[in-house]
């Protein structure tokens, strides 16, 4: 998050937390690590009294028990540290958010606009109306009822450029903790006390509201089952071995148990989940639950608005098409004059294109000219020059009527050009000067840079994209083709979006969409993943299960990636954890039975120095792999959009095969180190 969070002290805090988390009441929530803790307790007791479980006294048993205990404690601390570090990062962000939550005084007003007394912001009730002046902090989330103001939202979004908020329309919502920079607003509070956007955000990044997501829950069950299996394996081993007159040390049995149960993923599972949420927040997106992020990874269909998402908000002039009797230069010049005062992006793009064609506003040509502003009613804009000439540009049918009213002939080319432009997906804009049609400007939708690549990436992920636009089917088809979206809904009404979502869902697909307007709210709520724009109305923000603080709808694509990355990281480390067991068996089993079943030393393929060093090496490897994988857990497995089978092959090679091979090397190296330190025989 670009808001200068201080990570100083994060490590110290995490280390302290690791100790605090040794509390069995905390460990109990994680079945895998709880088993480790119980085992640690047993070896600790044996360190104090080696004869606790009977059996013949062995020389050096206590030293061995102490070593095992130490390694087990370290294993627990590493696991706690991973979780504490992930939580700490969230907490650091929450702290910076909380600073903006400094107590503010709200100036309540009544219906008539008269002051109704000041109260602390925390005591505002839903429905209260307050007035906020320039320089003041907005006390709560709400809707502007009167006024327009520029607002600094950097406390929430990290974006320093101020935004304009005004009453009515889709830009009327304001967030508590942001600051009014100029003018004033009167706003209605839309939130219950303590449930503001900021409150929720803080709770979220702190992990206070963290609930296990469905996939995490399922994985926890699987890990618990594996732990149970190995508990059975270890518990039944002494009687089985006893038949062969092999006495097994309890510390060794616990060491084997801890090595076999999936401690690696058990230790990192919650850190992965917290870090996943954290990554979403770093992207300036607030997810209302971890479930929403996971659902994003599952999305099958993406519904995107054309304007603002796929194309730049506005059409651009691409070509001048003069009527046959009109000189090109004259037409371009007229178009330039008509757009000179026009501040709309279309107008500006006409000026740019005209200048590129070599036309300039000459001398005092524009002095004393009156502008005719665009209105939805007239559907044209233009200019009346000093010399009385009137140049207008506007919708073709409007211009045609003006020509007809003026009694001048309308060239057949007007229709030909119009049709041609429409067919190619553009919008025609006709120019008329004193009743004479001069020509048609071809306005084109410009696809945002990089969108084609993004849609190609989505297709590789197997996500079906649907563009929603109010354009006619012809225009829509052209843009869809150019951008590379799979499907489109043309001439869309708000209810069309809703209907399409329902249809897709009825076929079993998961649907994601973005929206900002109040009329998007039902669709946002219906979609499995609804990403609301922070610039949108509070109704939209309430309905969606994620809010994008940057109000960039294309970020939905990143959210999908993060969701997938979260699942992949869990799966990869689980696979790695299970695959590790193979090498650990080869280290521990021969060592365990070295006296009772000496032939099994043939299984000591790593040629470890001594039984003790074999067991300790496996146990140390098991502990060290946890901090080694913390960066991966926090950062997430690298995700590139590709087909599922290809991705599976890649990950299984890396984490499955790698998980089998790596511990053979690691355990051998640790054994060499222990031997060099003289710890191999105690």
């Amino acid at each position: 998050m670009a808001r200068g969070v201080s990570y100083k002290g994060l490590w110290q805090r995490a280390m302290l937390d690791s100790l605090r988390k040794l509390d069995p009441r905390v460990q109990y929530r994680n079945p895998v690590m709880f088993v480790v803790e119980v085992g640690t307790l047993v070896t600790l007791l044996m360190s104090i009294d080696p004869g606790l479980f009977g059996g013949p006294p062995q020389p050096g048993a206590r030293a061995y028990d102490v070593l095992v205990t130490v390694i087990l404690v370290v294993t627990l601390l590493f696991a706690n540290f991973a979780e504490a570090l992930a939580e700490g990062r969230g907490r650091a962000q929450a702290a910076s958010l909380r600073r903006t939550k400094a107590e503010t005084i709200a100036h309540r007003i009544d219906e008539a606009g008269a002051a109704a007394g000041d109260v602390p912001a925390s005591q505002l009730q839903k429905g209260d109306v307050v007035r906020v002046e320039a320089g003041e902090l907005i006390p709560a989330d709400g809707e502007i009822v009167r006024g327009v103001a520029s607002i600094d939202e950097s406390a929430i979004t990290g974006e320093s450029a101020p935004v304009i908020r005004e009453a009515g329309g889709d830009f009327s919502s304001v967030t508590g903790g942001t600051r009014v920079l100029s003018d004033w607003i009167e706003m209605r509070v839309e939130q219950e006390p303590g449930k503001s956007f900021l409150d929720r955000m803080i709770a979220l990044v702190e992990g206070a509201e963290r609930q296990k997501s469905p996939n995490e829950l399922a994985l926890t069950v699987l890990l618990a089952a594996l732990t149970l299996i190995f508990l059975i394996v270890i518990d039944t081993l002494p009687p089985l071995a006893g038949y062969l007159h092999a006495h097994l040390s309890v510390a060794t049995l616990i060491a084997l148990l801890v090595c076999l149960i999936p401690t690696t993923i058990g230790a990192l599972l919650s850190a992965i989940g917290i870090a996943g949420m954290d990554r979403v927040i770093r992207f300036n997106i607030i997810a209302k639950s971890g479930k929403a992020v996971e659902a994003a990874g599952d999305v099958d269909t993406l519904i995107l608005d054309k304007t603002g998402t796929i194309t730049l908000g506005n059409r651009m002039a691409a070509r001048f098409l003069p009527m046959p009797t009109v000189d090109q230069a004259r037409f371009v010049h007229a178009a330039l004059l008509a757009s000179h005062h026009d501040d709309t992006p279309e107008g500006k793009s006409i000026v740019v294109l005209a200048e590129r064609e070599g036309e300039q506003v000459e001398g005092q040509e524009m002095d004393g000219a009156t502008q005719i502003a665009f209105s939805a009613e007239t559907r044209r804009s233009g200019v009346v020059l000093k010399d009385g000439r009137e140049i207008s540009k506007g919708a073709v049918d409007v211009i045609r009527r003006m020509a007809e009213r003026a009694g001048s002939a309308v060239p057949a080319e007007l229709d030909t050009f119009t049709e041609e432009i429409a067919r190619s997906g553009g919008t025609p804009l006709a120019v008329i000067e004193d009743g004479q049609v001069l020509g048609v400007i071809h306005l084109k939708d410009i696809i945002k840079p990089g969108m084609q690549e993004r849609f190609a990436a989505l297709r590789r992920m197997g996500i079906h994209t649907i563009m929603v636009t109010g354009d006619n089917p012809l225009t829509a088809a052209t843009i869809a083709r150019e951008a590379g979206v799979d499907d489109f809904i043309a001439e869309a009404k708000p209810e069309d979006k809703m209907r399409r979502i329902r249809e897709e869902q009825a076929e079993g697909r998961l649907v994601a969409m973005t929206g900002d307007g109040t009329n998007d709210a039902p669709a946002l709520a219906q979609a499995d993943v609804g990403l609301a724009m922070n610039s949108g109305t509070s109704a939209a923000k309430e309905a969606g299960n994620m809010v994008d603080l940057d109000s960039d709808p294309t970020k939905l694509i990143e959210v999908v990636s993060i969701g997938k990355q979260l699942l992949i990281t869990r799966g990869a480390i689980t696979t790695f954890s299970i695959a590790n067991d193979v090498a650990k068996y080869f280290a521990i089993i021969p060592a365990m039975f070295v006296t009772a079943v000496p032939v099994l030393s043939a299984l000591n393929v790593m040629h470890l120095t001594s039984p003790q060093s074999a067991i300790l090496s496996a146990l140390i490897f098991n502990a060290l792999i946890i901090p080694a994988l913390i960066p991966l857990a926090l950062r997430g497995v690298r995700y590139r959009p590709m087909g599922a089978t290809e991705m599976l092959q890649r990950n299984i090679l890396l984490y499955g095969l790698g998980g089998v091979v790596l511990p053979f090397i690691g355990i051998k190296l640790i054994d060499l180190a222990l031997t060099a330190m003289g710890l191999a025989r105690i």
């Binding site: 059975i232 518990d235 799966g571 032939v599 995700y639």
Partner: protein
């Protein structure tokens, strides 16, 4: 190993595959009520049965109703057979006037036969009347049928747009009338042609040249043998099982029996492919399972062919391990039989598994521990799909989506039940073995000391838990301790996982089918197939590695080191 033997094995597996495909598709037609050539024969019979039993065989069932019907019908059959065995001395068809059967043996036998295990703690020809044998033969028909229909019901949970798992009674009766009875009938005729006797007369009395009188047990053997193999039952008419010349007179009957054991579990994979409308998926699972089987078959064959180095050294010769084998089947015929009977969890034997070389003996014990190398009728497919669910869950996460299997999302409920089902098998095997090896009653039954004794006990419980029924022998299995403990293990091994799987099917049934996209993990690829195999092996190996190390592995290493016991 001989080229002859290897070629024979390869040909056998080819013929098996070619036969399993049409049989698998035929089974699909049977269970989905499509037209089959047996309609005219079977339909009146089925109608009569339903009318007689007063059962509604039309309405569809949810998982609960299906499970209840399965359990209730099993209980009814178990009680019936229990009474028949218990009251044997007072019932007809007892030409040899055999006396009562000990109560623990009755319990063990009923538990073992109702679960398709056919672990036998008695000597059939000297303790069971023909009626008792018929009672068990009845279960040999009905229990594989019940296993198959539960598997079919489970697979239906994946079928798009289905609202129910089918009707248990209808499935069960159709399985008998259209699959088991017709195939067993033809197979029995084939076995008679291959020299297996079939009669209701009492034992034959023979006077030898030396003047002695021999009482030679016989009976309706061919009919019994056919369903014993076809239904992956394995309980023999004689104690010597398929090593007995009346059960298995020669190479031809041996081949027929091997074929029958393997036919239905293999075919069921193809039935499954028809149900999920994805034949490629069936081929992938078949392919990796067959590869594993072929490798394990080679291990046992090569190990037996190489023989015992210590013995070879003493004799100054090289030869295969002939101990416990019938010369009429040869090393190849015995190895293939041992591999098949444990892979398909039949449990019939034509050689003494106890006398296999340690590595050769490792294969049968490993296969019943995995319990997924094809597996028994129905139960095998269920176990395979349980591991497919676990595999899909772990690997599905790795492609970044909530895992899906055949279009149905695999979530907490399914994973919980599948993990529990996965847990049952190692739990009952290891816990029961530990109890047996640490109690005086358990140790008393072991005839061989050391690693081999441990293998014998573990084998007994693994065989019970997998509902296999074969034994390493060398174990006093008839003692009340083993009769009762294996009886409990077979029941847990069968019903717990089957009920959990039906529960999963019910949960899947309620889910919408998600259309596949390129982002969906495809399970019908070789990549997925090999990963599935990896998970099966790693979980299987990790769970049983310590006992395998202390049993067959230690024994093999000792043998190689020249150590004898």
């Amino acid at each position: 190993m001989t080229a002859h033997g290897l070629l024979g094995d390869a040909l056998f597996l080819l013929v098996l595959t070619l036969a399993a495909i049409p049989v698998g598709r035929y089974m699909y037609r049977v269970f989905e009520g499509e037209k089959t050539f047996l309609d005219r024969l079977a339909r009146p019979l089925e109608r009569a049965i339903f009318r007689l039993a007063g059962i509604d065989a039309e309405g569809g069932m949810g998982w609960r109703a299906y499970a209840v019907a399965f359990l209730v019908s099993n209980l009814a059959m178990a009680v019936l057979v229990y009474l028949l065995l218990w009251l044997q001395p007072d019932l007809p068809l007892n030409p040899a006037h055999l006396g009562p059967i000990p109560p623990t043996t009755v319990f063990n036998t009923v538990a073992s036969f109702i679960t398709n295990t056919n672990w036998q703690v008695y000597t059939p020809e000297t303790s069971l009347s023909y009626l008792s044998q018929f009672a068990l033969e009845f279960l040999q028909f009905t229990t594989p049928a019940a296993g198959i229909v539960v598997a079919i019901a489970f697979v239906r949970g994946f079928v798009q747009g289905r609202g129910d798992l089918g009707n248990y009674y209808r499935d069960f009766v159709r399985a008998l009338s259209r699959i088991f009875l017709p195939i067993a009938f033809v197979a029995a005729i084939a076995l008679i042609a291959a020299g297996v006797p079939d009669t209701l007369s009492g034992p034959a009395i023979a006077h030898t040249l030396g003047g002695a009188t021999q009482v030679i047990a016989r009976g309706p053997v061919a009919a019994f043998e056919a369903i014993k193999q076809l239904g992956t039952n394995g309980g023999g008419f004689f104690n010597a099982n398929s090593a007995h010349p009346f059960e298995n007179p020669g190479p031809l009957s041996n081949l027929i029996e091997e074929f029958l054991m393997a036919l239905l579990p293999t075919a069921l994979l193809f039935t499954f492919g028809e149900y999920i409308k994805n034949r490629r998926q069936a081929w992938i699972i078949f392919g990796v399972t067959m590869t594993l089987f072929a490798v394990l078959l080679l291990v046992v064959y090569s190990s037996e062919a190489a023989g015992n180095p210590i013995l070879n050294h003493l004799l100054g010769a090289t030869g295969p391990n002939w101990e416990g084998k019938e010369t009429r089947f040869g090393i190849s015929g015995s190895s293939l039989f041992a591999a098949i009977t444990t892979a398909f969890t039949t449990g019939a034997v034509n050689a003494m598994h106890d006398s296999l070389t340690p590595l050769g003996g490792f294969v049968p014990i490993f296969q019943i521990m995995l319990n997924t190398v094809f597996g028994g009728a129905g139960a095998g497919l269920l176990n395979i799909l349980m591991f497919v669910i676990i595999t899909v869950f772990v690997t599905g996460l790795m492609v970044g989506r909530t895992p899906e299997l055949f279009g149905k999302k695999i979530e907490s409920r399914e994973v919980t039940a599948a993990a529990a089902a996965m847990l049952v098998h190692p739990f009952i095997v290891l816990a029961a073995s530990a109890v047996a090896l640490s109690t005086a009653a358990g140790r008393a039954g072991i005839f061989n000391p050391g690693f081999h004794g441990l293998s014998e006990v573990v084998y007994a419980y693994a065989s019970s838990a997998a509902n296999n029924g074969s034994a390493f022998a060398g174990l006093g299995a008839a003692s009340p301790f083993y009769a009762v403990s294996t009886g409990i293990v077979v029941l847990l091994g069968r019903y717990v996982s089957m009920l959990l799987m039906l529960y999963i099917a019910g949960s899947l049934l309620a889910k919408k089918t998600v259309p596949a996209s390129t982002g969906t993990l495809r399970t019908d690829t070789w990549t997925f197939g090999w990963i599935y195999l990896g998970i099966v092996l790693i979980v299987g190996a990790l769970t049983f590695f310590p006992v395998l190390a202390l049993g067959p592995i230690a024994e093999q290493l000792s043998m190689l080191a020249g150590k004898v016991f």
